[in-house]
Point group: D2
Chain length 439, copies 4
């Protein structure tokens, strides 16, 4: 359930290094995908009819999968994998999948792990590439985090491409979020502009699930499961003390998908605050008075807040950015903790507020079964794309089909909860929370 899809006038064509001419080793065993196989983006009948009526092309994505002809000669191909940004369940599954697919299916034997993300390309950090063999990756899917290490922040694109050329990589897989995708795209374009032959394929990684044109990112399902457990704890804490309030801050810089879904997974949250829906603190219909009514009626409450919610309360603060280039958010969790305690203190109630900020505990666990399967497919599709000479693109799942999406299109804007759609409606039903805005 994605938000409104605006796909008018978008460019979905995927870059290619050239015409693939080598017979794929998978030709015998797999049903190969033809170049012209495409998946309609907006599968509502109305959207299709509008295109027909207005004589516009129906927007669609290129289907992912093995091609009959590939671009790179397996025996001479050299690949690199880099993992960037914060942790997310399933990174090691993707790494393992890429190595297995390259090695066993395409016969590529030169596969390197770039340590600590983009830093690993830059000589002055003195990180050594890791030789990624099937035996090295054999059991890594049982470990949280990334065996390659990661880092935040951008590096000089020229230096990155210098390294790629120096080491003579033919395909580079980037596993990362918004910032990484932009960097990967810049790397791909710089490579093309230098006339060097190297494919850049991205597997989008964002625990917030906020990549446009990607139904769901890996790790999200696991994160929701873990976040649901934390809400359950907050519920136990809230019921365990007079006027107990369990306050949980969850990931979600710009989109409240984790908060919303975790609330549906656990059903004990009474308030879910997300960046997509504005709320006020003060006034009769604001959060504080609403919370007070809830506490008086039921004796306890659970409040779930996405980290990007309520940023208007930090309006006066200077804008800072973190190493990944993300604007630093004011800490809405601690802010609410303080405001709630102040409010009830002023009214001579002793609320028992338990504040839980579980971020690392959610993102560094091992991928669950569903994410693990998902990561396997993403990895295979990424390898197929790379071997066929595609570049500057990412692998997405759209309408239950794996597709190729130009990076530029996906990073144009963040995916957000459609506050008029079924997801948010469900959250409001489950919590019973009203609109908490004045005037």
């Amino acid at each position: 359930m994605n938000g409104e899809i605006i796909c008018e006038g978008i460019d979905t064509s995927v870059q290619s290094l050239g015409v693939p001419t080598i017979d794929s080793p998978l030709l015998a065993t797999a049903r190969c995908v033809e170049e012209h196989e495409r998946v309609i983006i907006d599968s509502s009948l109305a959207a299709v009819n509008a295109c027909l009526r207005e004589n516009r092309e129906i927007p669609s994505f290129e289907r992912a999968g093995p091609r009959k002809k590939i671009f790179f000669d397996s025996s001479k191909t050299k690949c690199g994998i880099a993992t960037c940004g914060g942790l997310c369940p399933g990174i090691n599954d993707v790494i393992r999948g890429v190595v297995h697919e390259l090695y066993y299916m395409y016969g590529v034997e030169n596969i390197y792990g770039i340590p600590y993300g983009l830093q690993g390309f830059i000589p002055r950090y003195r990180h050594s590439f890791i030789d990624l063999t099937p035996s090295f990756v054999e059991n890594i899917h049982g470990l949280g985090g990334t065996v390659l290490g990661s880092s935040r922040g951008s590096q000089d694109i020229g230096e990155v491409v210098d390294a790629i050329e120096r080491v003579n990589l033919n395909i580079v897989f980037f596993i990362g979020g918004d910032g990484t995708l932009k960097a990967a795209s810049a790397v791909a374009r710089e490579i093309l502009s230098r006339g060097y032959t190297c494919s850049v394929i991205a597997v989008p990684k964002t625990i917030d699930n906020d990549i446009s044109f990607v139904s769901q990112t890996f790790g999200f399902d696991t994160a929701v499961e873990e976040a649901g457990k934390v809400i359950r704890c907050a519920h136990a804490e809230s019921k365990g003390a007079p006027y107990g309030v369990g306050l949980v801050k969850l990931m979600g810089r710009d989109s409240g998908f984790i908060a919303a879904n975790a609330a549906l997974a656990c059903r004990e949250a009474n308030f879910v605050l997300v960046p997509e829906e504005d709320f006020d603190l003060e006034g009769e219909t604001g959060l504080l008075a609403t919370l007070e009514r809830r506490l008086k009626a039921r004796g306890h409450a659970v409040v779930v807040v996405a980290e990007g919610a309520g940023q208007k309360f930090f309006g006066g603060l200077p804008r800072k950015t973190d190493l990944s280039g993300n604007v630093r958010k004011g800490d809405i969790g601690l802010f609410l903790k303080e405001k709630i305690e102040e409010y009830f203190f002023a009214r001579s109630y002793q609320v028992n507020l338990k504040y839980i900020d579980p971020s690392y505990v959610i993102r560094s666990v091992v991928a669950n079964s569903s994410d693990s399967i998902f990561c396997g497919f993403l990895a295979q599709m990424a390898v197929h794309a790379g071997m066929s000479g595609k570049t500057d693109m990412l692998i997405g799942l759209w309408n239950n089909t794996y597709v190729h999406i130009p990076i530029a299109l996906s990073v144009r804007e963040r995916k957000k909860i459609d506050t008029t759609g079924p997801l948010w409606m469900s959250v409001k039903e489950s919590t019973g929370q009203p609109i908490m805005r004045n005037g």
Copy 2:
């Protein structure tokens, strides 16, 4: 990832009890779905273009969701819920969701649980209806199974409808599999033919995930997770003894989805046998000789078999059906156990075969986080459909959108693994298993 979709000439129109004329109580808070909102079934560009070229209508499903006008007056509406067939994770989540949606969103207060499936309608079984209040269902999602009880086997449709009329039910929700769906459809048609006013809405339940035009059924994700754990155990057993063979029989009467996905979730299976792909036992390329080569090379092996695989080996047996009308399968698990042991005994190898048949342990667990969220949506959509007077239909998820599907269409044939598609290709890559057929 569904198999090939053949949707030419299908009838996707949903029956209705009449024109809804009552303003929905959700009008103020939810974005309501218009009747004409439809979702294209096959979202491949080629399929759409073929329709245009051939001047055929593009096949599509009616979108599920709340309507502006509803058919039933909440204050007078009486609803029943029945759960039929075998257990499946998430049934209680659906029951809870239906009760909550009816009660809190539509204000329906008369909701009854029909005990033990279709039996509950039949007077001679003397089961009493259960009063389903919000407090009754409060914590049932923490329990496996179904709080209503279930039963297999059909009952006289006339008697079922007699009961519905006698008790004066206006909406009946059936949660069940293939047999139940057929019965529900017959009930809906009998009701219509009698001129009685009662909506019949089904939520498809099949742990095998084999309902046509339904991307995924609830409980399947949980079942795959549990099945993956069992394969992990089989792997430990196989490595724990000289010539160890772990043999796991999983659910899957006609479709091997659980076996295939569980193999991808755990990655330790060396052979996955499903109904969709024929295999031979004997001969140089048959299963037994292939297994022998594997054992000689690696010392151990894990074999996963779906219960419906290899039914040709029982060709001589008389066809029996079980209470649900399903053809009784020969027990491929025990059959393989015997054949493997015989084969190696004849060759003077002592294989250590550990046979695991975990079915009840997989299907009776509590739904995982992802299924729990999914069940919530299914329940809500079922209530919206029922309240708006739809009947003889089920709720499905298609292209990430909840849709209404006529029951008749969905039970036409079982969904199966496309053995040329990415799912099966992934399984073959993961296991390394060859085609095991002679000649």
Copy 3:
């Protein structure tokens, strides 16, 4: 594995309300424990021989279990249960066990839950007693926290006893930690001094496992399991970034049992800091320089710190106490975070420190299998003790036997890790951490 046991000169005699004269309803089915059955406290041969040599009595505890004669007439007995202090896995299991044992085995039907701990006795808080029936407690063991609610802080003992008399309770079960045990003992003594007939039985609850003469408290096993998972996350985070440091603060005000055991459960901690072993920050052998050497050698590190460790660094702070009367600790977690970041910043290293403070997530989960069984026994033994008229005592597990321990004896001092014993030795082996003290 307890620390050194100093049991010379201790008083292990348990108070009694009078001579039990009523035949126990369990007489027919259970092997009853005789009053003179006792368990030696220190089962080392040397300790026993010392007693013999010095002609001292061998210190021993009264064995818990059903008695042939009971003190209270079941049909007229009225019981109360109160849960006090912070949450701990298993509280609901104990409540359920007490209710079941009283109701089904002794036929006691008047059982009340005192809401929100000691507050529940005090009229001005206006909390109503909860009627604890078997059906009320049926599924509560599936919930974290306490269904009765809890509160911190002491209340006027006279007022508590007034309430007990007013409501006419005959047995009161207190589930709580150090402060609660002291209060329970005061209540028991006040009752005795008033000549009222009411038994006070405590089940010790401390997630820190620091009650003297109690091998292990309920919930501890679960807490260690959860804490181990968190350390695993910290490990993934530490390996996921250049110079990654995972810093985990765990419960343990005076004793580091959770930190030590969790480190053994996960084996990824490199430093475990507990109240029982002093450490310095500065200097060549201090924590910071030792951590620097570790980071330079291995690139990452996991530091686990019990909340009560390193309190000497807060020497200048005024002593505060919390509501439960515990001395407020300086926050060693945040302190170390700051000190580590400062230290490496000054040396121009960018450490990536991820700080995790999971307390609520550890203590509010559902009890694991082992704790759940344990809680069942504690509850049964508590009921046997209460019904036989014992008072001012708690139930402990000692040498694998359930025993009666006078409260006064148990609260004399906190149990601590023996830093020369096998537990701490194992931690040091597992972490490889040196003594980090200067001079």
Copy 4:
């Protein structure tokens, strides 16, 4: 909670290869245990007093732990580890612990894994020893089963000792059950009789927890946890169908510890049948009629049966033994399934019996947190014992202290549930099951 301890006249003295003369490398860091430190076996005061009265020695065990002087010179020591018999959670934890302790603490670098248990010593099986380095064992505790492989059945003791001499092993660690312990003892005695210098240390492994003088064996806690989950599934199945009966067969050849504890962990079992308590099928008070009454009253039932229960029903069968020398049991699970179905069929009831036999799924999982910690201690204590030259002994946990127990003493008889003690009494309370014997 062990059964009655009969320790009169037992021989607890542990064999030694000679006087240890080498300073232990742990001398500086650990508190070493003196040879004379002993732990009283029966810590009941009455037992001690009886000894004093009768002027008998108080029976006690030698305390385990590091010694100041060791027997083997680390730099020249060569060690082997063999794992025998069925799988059990935690074997890999013990292997890892032994390797770590030997390598890091004692500096022993020559450590070999004997593949597939006793078979690994016998040349004709052609198994190669495995070089056990710290890196080999690094992550094995995350895997179920045993990385060394195992096998059942005895081998010629002479051949085993020949191999030990040929390879020149100085310490051999055996991880195994009753049969293995006997073999290990025979090996130890044969080594002594040949005048060769090799220590034989056993870590008892039995998922049934039935080793005498060992409070609990590793893996048992995990097995109970898993078994409890299965009972929960059986409960869901039993409630999910009219006259539903969930029948679970659990491990327990001679002792019903798993069945009893799992029933307490889940609390949904209505009948627990164990080898220690006889029951009849027929007659008014037999199992079948009792079950009928339960079904009529409540509509469903859960029956848990230990595999060794009800063996009297197979009286006529010829006695067979399996490869480990255990007497083959009649399959009480399938027997009960048939008898129950027959009984109700004859009475025209259709019971819905779901039979679950989960053995492999229980024993091959990864050790839980508690068992993992426990295995670590067992491994360390085993290494201390071996390095100090002890032999023909096993490591046990007794009265919360790790001790040395002569193998001969421990295998004398199986530990059983004391049916008059608190464990069984708790089970009877929880199930409400009566004595089911006629006449």
